[in-house]
């Protein structure tokens, strides 16, 4: 670990801790890419708030050292945000932690035989970063508070920086093809007919704030899982990049989890104030101007199942290749105690019991070669991670004395990709006919009336210290600022 590694050079166009000043080729490449990025941000970034002053966190070093925190807070106009290239410090003598090269020194340059695979991993990860900014660009206008608006923008600028991180890797290590891919990352657009983003969930709209919080809770958590497994990579620059990205990603998890908690909390408080006992009396609850718990459950079902698809097919050749090559590991690989090769291991995946197609014959765990089942394994780790947060939501409910629990639906529910794709499972995991499933769809997933109701609540609340009717004030605020702090100074208030 060197000083060079942990301080960021901000006296240049592109802040960095990778000695960009002495790497003319990559610096020129990134400087050429930079205007396109700014154009993209102005076109596709938060709509209507580009000239507002936002109280943002900016990374200044890649790790805190005593009183010197890794980030500073200040008012920034988003287009002036100091996007840069920050890699976690290089660990001395790092070894490849898994796969066929386990124990060999980590690669500091791209190994020729894995070039295509690595590039693909980085492009797919990179494509998700700007996508969520695009999906969320209209949310500022209906923010339930300046505090939430600021958090949205913080998430957005950091996704922008994560794009920079991936683009740096492409430009630095993948030559002309890498530069082309870096350009393509700006060309593809979420939901575009001509050039959509690569993964399905990133072409879905994020139409309201409940969706935003669930997106950051579930979908950004998929991002976290992917980054965790890439942070294990034998390709050291990728590992270091992802390790630092995880520092920022933690905030996104916090926004999602606390956002939903505050919604649930507000709903329960309103029910109690109104003397309502039955959380499933949807009409009565909605009349209070809060979001009823059954609708939140439906939204959970939707976002969770869409996110599961992002893990890819449960059984995958690519994931097997990535792992065996030492490019993408498992969640917290370093804490797992096995041979880290998995050549002869198996992993169990729930599949419909034999002879039970279309009817409820129950589930059986089928063992598959562990290398091929890595997507399923990461997905299971994801589910466990989600359940910790869901537990906190339920605590907020039970603390107010209501008997209602939010649950994650069965892994086979509402899936478009992988081994469950052609099944019709209820959230409880019961297999039913397609007709029966379609008939009950509205009980499990939000329908037009649910969406219309949620949309009706999306009224902006831009007064400092005020919050919309359907969401509670946060108990802990960013950087310990006072309750009436002006998180965003609106340019045209």
């Amino acid at each position: 670990m060197t000083t060079l590694d942990s301080t960021v050079d901000y006296d240049v166009l592109i802040p960095n801790n990778v000695a960009l000043a002495s790497d003319a080729r990559v610096r020129r490449g990134l400087e050429r890419w930079h205007p396109g990025y700014i154009d993209w941000w102005m076109d596709m970034g938060p709509d209507g708030f580009q000239t507002s002053d936002v109280y943002l966190r900016t990374a200044v070093r890649v790790e805190s050292k005593g009183a010197d925190k890794w980030a500073v807070f200040d008012y920034v106009k988003m287009p002036d945000y100091r996007w840069g290239i920050l890699l976690a410090p290089q660990a001395e003598d790092r070894k490849i932690p898994f796969g066929r090269h386990v124990g060999e020194p980590a690669w500091q340059e791209v190994p020729g035989e894995y070039r295509a695979m690595l590039r693909r991993l980085i492009v797919i990860q990179g494509d998700t970063e700007p996508a969520s900014v695009e999906q969320q660009r209209f949310l500022g206008k209906t923010a339930p508070s300046l505090y939430d608006m600021r958090n949205l923008f913080q998430v957005n600028v950091e996704e922008g920086r994560h794009l920079w991180a991936m683009v740096y890797l492409l430009q630095k290590y993948f030559g002309r093809d890498g530069r082309e891919e870096a350009g393509e990352l700006l060309r593809r657009r979420s939901g575009s007919d001509d050039a959509p983003r690569m993964l399905g969930a990133f072409n879905e709209e994020t139409p309201d704030w409940l969706s935003f919080f669930l997106f950051t809770f579930f979908t950004d958590r998929d991002g976290k899982m992917q980054l965790e497994s890439l942070a294990q990579s034998g390709f050291d620059p990728l590992s270091r990049t992802c390790r630092f990205m995880l520092t920022e990603e933690a905030f996104h998890m916090f926004v999602g989890e606390s956002g939903v908690t505050r919604i649930v909390q507000r709903t329960c408080e309103a029910m109690r104030e109104a003397g309502l006992d039955d959380p499933t009396d949807i009409e009565a609850v909605r009349a209070l101007g809060v979001i009823d718990l059954p609708t939140i459950q439906k939204k959970v079902n939707l976002h969770y199942s869409l996110t599961l698809d992002l893990f890819g097919s449960e059984l995958s050749t690519n994931s097997a290749n990535f792992f065996n090559a030492g490019l993408k590991g498992r969640f917290r690989e370093h804490r797992l105690e096995d041979d880290h090769r998995l050549l002869d291991d198996t992993y169990g995946i729930p599949e419909p019991a034999k002879g039970a197609a279309g009817v409820n014959g129950g589930w059986q765990i089928v063992q598959h070669p562990a290398l091929n089942a890595l997507n399923a394994r990461l997905r299971d780790d994801f589910t466990a991670d989600c359940n910790l947060g869901v537990g906190r939501w339920n605590k907020a409910i039970s603390q107010t004395g209501f008997d209602f629990a939010i649950t994650l639906p069965h892994v086979a529910f509402h899936r478009q990709i992988g081994v469950y794709r052609d099944l019709h499972a209820t959230p409880a995991g019961e297999l039913i006919s397609e007709d029966a499933w379609t008939a009950q769809r509205g009980e499990w997933l939000p329908d037009d009336s649910d969406r219309a109701f949620i949309e009706s609540l999306m009224k902006p609340e831009f007064r400092p210290g005020h919050y919309a009717s359907w969401i509670a004030e946060p108990r802990i605020r960013i950087n310990h600022k006072p309750g009436d702090f002006e998180w965003v100074k609106l340019a045209e208030a």
């Binding site: 295509a116 007919d193 001509d194 050039a195 690569m198 050749t317 097997a320 290749n321 065996n324 290398l371």
Partner: protein, 570 residues
């Protein structure tokens, strides 16, 4: 030998079928397609690939990512045939897929990895024949093919596109074409990929070299610049754009604009213990000798007055029925009778009646339907050329090898002709040349079988032309160089028996290679390169440990394990 076969024990095989496996059924109908959807919208047709993952021909693999096995290609072949014959009003065909990110991932690797060598070779041969048939339709039938690639066309998926007249690619930053066989699988793009890249699309060889090692392929402007595709289309107007291109292609067609195609009844041969009975053909097996005797029956009635009459009676139009039945028989023999090493072709019927049909086809060839029948005969004869079996024709009393039927004898490795009257007084057999023998049925080397037989001897061919329409007895046929051996009553049975027994005793591998070399002298064509150079190298790779050994690339693909290569260059 397939895994199943090894498990069942060596060569204690049932008569007939490949050991331990159900015979492959290649007959199908659009109502029964599992993988393709055929939509007719004159003057266009749309063939949409949507492979049913679970509907592989054999157990043990899933057809993920719109990948294909023989079952998928049987449907494609059926569709291309029906489009030619049943739909004269279709002037251009659009190959497409509605899958989100994948057009077609090519041949299924699980299938290839678990298939016997024999099945791999036959799979490649059949898929190659179908793609060449698509090109034949483009060049000769006025039915043009266009491939609309949205998503990734990888390996065999791109090779399918290469067989089309025009390739369109979605310009969405992700859709790409690729030939990743070498880096991913340790084999070649063997369904014409390498050959078409250079000889058809004239891609520069160094770029082709680069392209064939780029796992992820090439997309967008570079794909156009390298001529890997013809044009880019925006994703939002992709289907409309493809349709406009197809309509432009359709504009050059000389096919009729009205529907009213041929009738295409199902082929339903009757299997008996050691025979298969078609209507114009029968097969008799001598399994001990590894021989199948194909007896072709001549027409039972006169040739139609004109092409419309032939079309009206298409279900029973002798040349078409025979072509279909021969085609069916050859596919069955190749795929399901792998222990039958010799095909003996005979015929029974009236030489004059066959000659009349021959003359009719020659006279009416400008009619789309007659043209299709002739083109089909050309393809069936090529199928015979490319069948890895020794082919002997026996020209015996009562036979009718005139014109297009004589072509079967010319396609054979040897032809034996009976000289003189038979013991029971049947008249001496004759053969007869027709106009069609002089160019209607080129072999894969682009020459007629007469030209191939008398390579570079124009004078010889001219003197043969003079014999058109003249019945030739054995001595004349031998003098004209049209038969291999002439045998009289005394020698016929013994000589034929000995020839077959001797043939059956040789190494089948050496025979396959010998025949494949001797059948195609003269110039190279795209087609001959595909079946010669490309297939031969591919089939060599298919035998090598680097591909199919325990740690070979093909065997390990999908497991995540890296293949271990023996680095010795041969």
């Amino acid at each position: 030998m397939s895994k199943q076969a090894t498990a069942d024990g060596p060569s204690g095989h049932q008569a007939g079928e490949t050991v331990g496996e159900e015979p492959l059924d290649f007959r199908t109908h659009p109502d029964r397609y599992r993988h393709w959807q055929l939509r007719i919208e004159p003057p266009l047709a749309f063939l949409t690939l949507e492979v049913d993952e679970q509907a592989g021909l054999r157990p043990g693999y899933q057809l993920k990512q719109n990948s294909y096995d023989l079952g998928v290609d049987f449907e494609l072949y059926d569709a291309t045939q029906r489009l030619r014959f049943e739909h004269p009003e279709v002037h251009a065909v659009v190959l497409r897929s509605d899958r989100d990110r994948i057009f077609c991932a090519g041949a299924n690797i699980g299938m290839l990895g678990s298939s016997s060598h024999q099945l791999k070779v036959n799979f490649c041969k059949f898929t190659n024949e179908t793609r060449l048939a698509i090109e034949d339709a483009c060049q000769h039938s006025g039915q043009r093919y266009l491939c609309a690639v949205r998503g990734t066309a990888a390996g065999g998926g791109y090779e399918l596109a290469l067989a089309c007249d025009r390739i369109l690619l979605a310009d969405d930053g992700s859709s790409a074409v690729s030939l990743p066989e070498v880096p991913l699988l340790g084999v070649l793009p063997g369904t014409g990929g390498l050959t078409r890249l250079l000889d058809k699309r004239r891609v520069r060889r160094d770029r082709a070299d680069l392209f064939c090692t780029l796992e992820e392929g090439v997309k967008g402007r570079r794909a156009v610049a390298w001529n890997l595709v013809d044009e880019l289309l925006p994703r939002s107007s992709f289907d409309d754009g493809a349709k406009a291109h197809a309509l432009e292609l359709a504009g050059s067609s000389d096919r009729p604009s009205e529907p009213g195609g041929a009738v295409w009844p199902e082929i339903a041969p009757k299997p008996e213990t050691d025979s298969i009975l078609y209507t114009t053909l029968r097969i008799d097996f001598d399994r001990a000798l590894g021989t199948a005797r194909l007896t072709v029956r001549g027409p039972t009635g006169p040739a139609p007055a004109d092409a419309s009459e032939a079309l009206a009676g298409s279900a029973g139009f002798w040349p078409l029925v025979l072509a279909r039945e021969l085609d069916d028989a050859l596919l069955h023999l190749r795929l399901n009778e792998t222990r039958i090493g010799q095909l003996v072709i005979e015929s029974a019927g009236d030489l004059v009646a066959v000659a009349a049909f021959d003359a009719f086809l020659h006279r009416e060839w400008e009619h789309w339907f007659v043209r299709e029948v002739l083109l089909y005969w050309k393809r069936v004869l090529k199928r015979l050329d490319l069948t890895a079996r020794s082919v002997f024709t026996l020209i015996a009393p009562g036979s009718c090898f005139a014109g297009l039927l004589l072509e079967l004898a010319l396609a054979s490795d040897r032809a034996y002709m009976f000289e003189g009257e038979s013991e029971d007084g049947e008249p001496a057999p004759c053969i007869q040349l027709g106009e069609l023998n002089f160019g209607a049925f080129p072999t894969p080397n682009g020459l007629s079988r007469i030209e191939t037989r008398f390579l570079g001897r124009e004078d010889n061919i001219d003197s043969l032309r003079a014999l058109i329409g003249t019945p030739l007895e054995a001595a004349d046929a031998e003098e004209a160089g049209l038969v291999t051996e002439v045998l009289d009553d005394l020698d016929w049975e013994d000589e034929v028996r000995i020839a077959l027994e001797e043939r059956a005793s040789f190494s089948p591998d050496a025979l396959t290679a010998l025949e494949a070399n001797l059948r195609f002298p003269g110039p190279e064509t795209l087609e001959s390169k595909i079946f010669g150079r490309l297939s031969a190298w591919q089939n060599w790779i298919f035998q090598r440990p680097n591909a199919v050994g325990e740690e070979g690339a093909l065997r390990l693909y999908g497991t995540g394990r890296r293949p271990r290569f023996d680095s010795e260059r041969i």
